[in-house]
């Protein structure tokens, strides 16, 4: 039942007004945070005074990217059930974060993931590689978001060219991070999470209203969705049937591994656990995040399948394609104002994620590389670490703007996000797990695990179908199925071939600290 008179595309002053309102609100927050922030603990970890529910919202805001909001909605709207599989993996991933990583990280570390790895091992080589892996993950993920932002803004506000949109997003994220630090980033993410949840709930209610709030009517409608194939014939498919686009189950398993084991290695998610006072609050914040993230991904049922049933794949294909399914659904169900709101939400979503990525990259460079690798962790001029982080944020912003503009709006960036998760899962997670649980883990093991995980995932992506087309040497779209075991194996074998008595001796201290929180970084006083 697609509507017969589509509203004119674009030219939405309401959307522009809501974009600007969001930007103004976030700049006020940044200004306020800049006045409050002083010192490294404040800049990198928001003074460790974020509460459990606040950090839960911020983790959710850091995590739910435009790829999940617009991308999953679009995949479900065009091809049904298979897209929903992504939704599942994105939530289940948080069990790895909760069970294995969040609390030891908070108790044993200071600002970055590498703090945990370097606790017992030789800090310089380990931090240098961990920083490289962090920068790689952040940059790949960020470029994907920036290209997405550019194309999105171009579709939502047709007057704005791609380059201007990319530069605008880049400047905003640098401003948040350079002036407002972790505190401003956190509040941008919290506001974004609230906006995204509000928009998703409204959209879901409007969809279900069309089905008289009857789930059986809703699911019944999904069993017969008509669409036109490229050759012009019309097919009617049951959109609840698996396998409409994903034909190779190994692809699904590999992707699932990247999601479920990669999230716990994503630097921009991990550093959020340093912003809370203690491990107990870190734990609470994971649970808050899981409630919000879970509800959001369940709602992709309503706006993804809802777009399929109410608009139909053909309508979506003619009105902006995959990424515009959710905004177009909002336009048809709620009019121009709701379209503007959902568009502004999508924009806020991108900004919050890129801000989180920028601060994680710059924190890692300043804390791991500058302070601990170049300066051997010895005291140097006060405030220098923060200054270096600010400069890094600026550089990271500039690099991603330039790369996003060079790649241009037409490039397929989906593989960059998959790569970010795969690197996080293959390089970061094995060494984090061995650091926490294995006494015999050595510096050589960490170096081997980080490098093999990083290099194998990048190489396998380079010879995958996304890069080489149908004749690719490596048949899976995501390398995780192979690269994660390689990362673990390399870290394990290299540890076995070396002995590091100092690291073994420190294991007692590490265990006591990670389990009890004795000696962990405290929140700054008010």
């Amino acid at each position: 039942m697609p509507p017969t008179t589509p509203p004119p595309a674009g030219q939405s002053p309401a959307a522009l007004a809501m974009f600007l309102a969001f930007v103004a609100a976030t700049l006020v927050i940044t200004w306020y945070s800049a006045r409050k922030s002083s010192g490294a603990g404040a800049y990198f970890a928001a003074g460790r005074r974020i509460t459990g529910w606040q950090n839960g919202l911020a983790v959710a805001g850091d995590y739910m990217s435009a790829a999940s909001f617009l991308g999953i909605a679009g995949m479900i709207a065009l091809n049904g059930y298979d897209g929903f599989m992504y939704s599942v993996g994105f939530l289940v991933a948080y069990l790895t974060v909760l069970f294995i990583v969040a609390e030891p990280l908070r108790n044993a570390g200071k600002y970055t993931m590498a703090d945990v790895l370097a606790y017992r091992l030789k800090p310089r080589p380990v931090r240098a590689l961990a920083s490289l892996s962090t920068l790689t993950v952040s940059l790949f993920y960020m470029i994907a978001q920036m290209v997405g932002a550019g194309t999105l803004v171009r579709q939502l506000l047709p007057g704005v060219p791609y380059q201007i949109a990319v530069i605008g997003v880049g400047i905003l994220m640098v401003v948040y991070v350079v002036f407002g630090g972790m505190l401003a980033t956190t509040w941008v993410q919290i506001i974004k999470a609230i906006l995204l949840m509000t928009g998703s709930i409204f959209l879901s209610v409007l969809v279900m209203q069309k089905f008289n709030f009857s789930f059986s009517e809703f699911f019944q409608a999904l069993t017969a969705i008509s669409s036109t194939l490229p050759d012009g014939t019309t097919v009617t498919r049951n959109f609840l049937t698996p396998g409409l686009i994903f034909k190779n189950p190994w692809d699904q398993i590999s992707l699932g591994m990247a999601l479920v084991f990669g999230t716990a290695g994503l630097p921009h998610i991990l550093i959020r656990f340093y912003t809370v006072p203690d491990a107990k609050t870190a734990r609470a914040s994971v649970v808050w995040a899981m409630v919000i993230i879970g509800l959001f991904y369940i709602m992709t049922t309503f706006f993804g399948f809802g777009a399929a049933a109410l608009l139909g794949p053909d309508y979506i294909g003619q009105h902006g394609g995959t990424n515009m399914a959710a905004p177009e659904l909002a336009r048809v169900l709620g009019g121009e104002i709701f379209f503007a709101f959902i568009s502004a939400v999508a924009f806020a979503t991108i900004l919050a994620v890129v801000a989180g990525l920028t601060i994680s990259a710059s924190t890692s460079f300043a804390h791991d590389f500058f302070t601990n690798v170049i300066h051997h962790g010895k005291p140097h001029r006060p405030g220098e670490e923060v200054t270096v982080a600010r400069i890094t944020a600026f550089v990271v912003g500039a690099i991603s703007i330039v790369i996003a503009i060079i790649l241009g709006p037409e490039v397929n960036v989906a593989f960059l996000v998959g790569l970010a998760f795969a690197v996080a899962a293959s390089a970061n997670l094995p060494v984090i797990i061995f650091s926490i649980f294995w006494k015999r883990f050595t510096t050589r093991g960490a170096i081997a695990g980080l490098s093999v995980g990083l290099v194998s995932s990048i190489l396998l992506i380079a010879v995958s179908p996304d890069f080489m087309g149908p004749d690719a040497w490596f048949k899976l779209k995501n390398p995780a199925l192979v690269s994660i075991p390689l990362g673990f194996l390399a870290a394990w074998l290299a540890s076995l071939t070396s002995r590091e008595p100092s690291a073994e001796a420190m294991f007692h201290e590490f265990q006591v600290r990670s389990v009890t929180g004795l000696g962990s970084e405290k929140a700054s006083p008010h």
């Binding site: 609840l240 649970v287 302070t371 201290e509 006591v512 389990v515 405290k522």
Partner: protein, 115 residues
């Protein structure tokens, strides 16, 4: 570090020496706490990994079976995917309940060593 040491809102007594990590680690109560945590985390991780990967495996290799309608038009594939959300939430809440007990035991160990 460049950062000035942050004032500690819960200071130990000023004369307290550096923690004797090995003594705490060797403490039977601490050993028992470590064991208890692993006894939870390892099986819980295995459960969620098996439950999660059952989804792509069943959907990928048994699509006909998973496509059978179960609740109205909703089929096994959708309902099993939906159940994953509840599986994750339930395991998370069980973990939090168990962890509250570990917090108490950790505090008791630290108290024994006057921290």
């Amino acid at each position: 570090m460049a950062s000035s040491p942050e004032p500690d809102p819960h200071p130990n007594p000023p004369d307290s020496p550096a923690p004797d990590w090995s003594a705490i680690e060797a403490d039977p109560d601490f050993r028992a706490l470590l064991k208890a945590k692993l006894r939870f985390i390892i099986p819980a991780t295995i459960i969620f990994v098996v439950y999660y990967f059952a989804l792509p495996i069943l959907v990928g290799w048994f699509p006909e079976m998973m496509s059978k309608p179960i609740l109205g038009a909703a089929n096994g594939a959708y309902l099993f995917a939906l159940s994953q959300f509840f599986m994750a939430w339930i395991l998370a809440f069980i973990y939090v309940a168990a962890a509250a007990g570990w917090d108490k035991r950790a505090a008791a160990v630290l108290k024994k060593f006057r921290f």
